[in-house]
Symmetry: C2
Subunit: 140 residues, 2 copies
């Protein structure tokens, strides 16, 4: 890791996420259940494959995601969120609250976001627990 | 405004903020009380003046900030937050929560952030009201 430009809490997180693509990959994993390189490529924003590869590598180095060989497809790699990654979910929800207020959010996305935001911290906590069950390594 | 790449709430906000510098300028206004071009230049992260000028212009076009001639200094322009800008504060606080958990935040910054986060939504609401008093145009 290189030295951060400052130890301000905003700067520290923005040095990780500070590129629009990074948080869109996190969104794809959290909201759209995407786990594979090819799935991320198919999102509406049309990320370029070299940018996607670089951002996945960065997220892996930051231990926000981890990669595993897919047990069902030998040549495929599956990406999962770590707890550090799952803990980004409240930021996504505050982003959504702002966009709902000020931007022309697609109706379908707006319905999902409103439902979660209306449920408050309990609804957010429940989704984070469900992400933990799906993504974190199973304990024996 | 150009057509957004998608109408997903995450993409819509990231198309505005999707650059580490943009949210650092907002931080400087909210947390550090900075209002002038020269003040933004002096922050620890050492933003380049051409990037700062471009980001301030973008934030103004998005109506997240507005500019006024400083009544005290004729040649100076003072930047203020709009309500749309002030409504970004909860995102900063979720960013801070994540950094406090996972990053080596400077002790002084950590104390301030913890104090606000411990106060919950009331503390956040109070700060937003105080920002509104400072930044929004006075009503007659």
């Amino acid at each position: 890791m290189k030295e951060p430009k400052s130890y301000c809490p905003q700067n520290l997180i923005l040095e990780v996420l500070g590129d629009r693509w990074t948080l869109l990959i996190i969104r794809d994993m959290m909201i759209n259940g995407k786990r594979y390189f090819r799935e991320f490529m198919q999102s509406d924003e049309k990320i370029a494959s070299n940018i996607l590869a670089a951002r996945l590598k960065l997220l892996e180095e930051e231990e926000i995601i981890y990669r595993q060989d897919d047990p069902r497809h030998k040549q495929k790699v599956r990406y999962s969120l770590t707890q550090k990654g799952i803990d980004l979910f409240p930021i996504l929800m505050e982003n959504a609250r702002w966009s709902l207020k000020y931007k022309p959010v697609a109706a379908e996305d707006a319905d999902i976001a409103k439902q979660i935001l209306d449920g408050g911290t309990n609804a957010i906590e429940e989704i984070m627990q469900s992400l933990a069950r799906e993504h974190l390594p199973k304990k024996n």
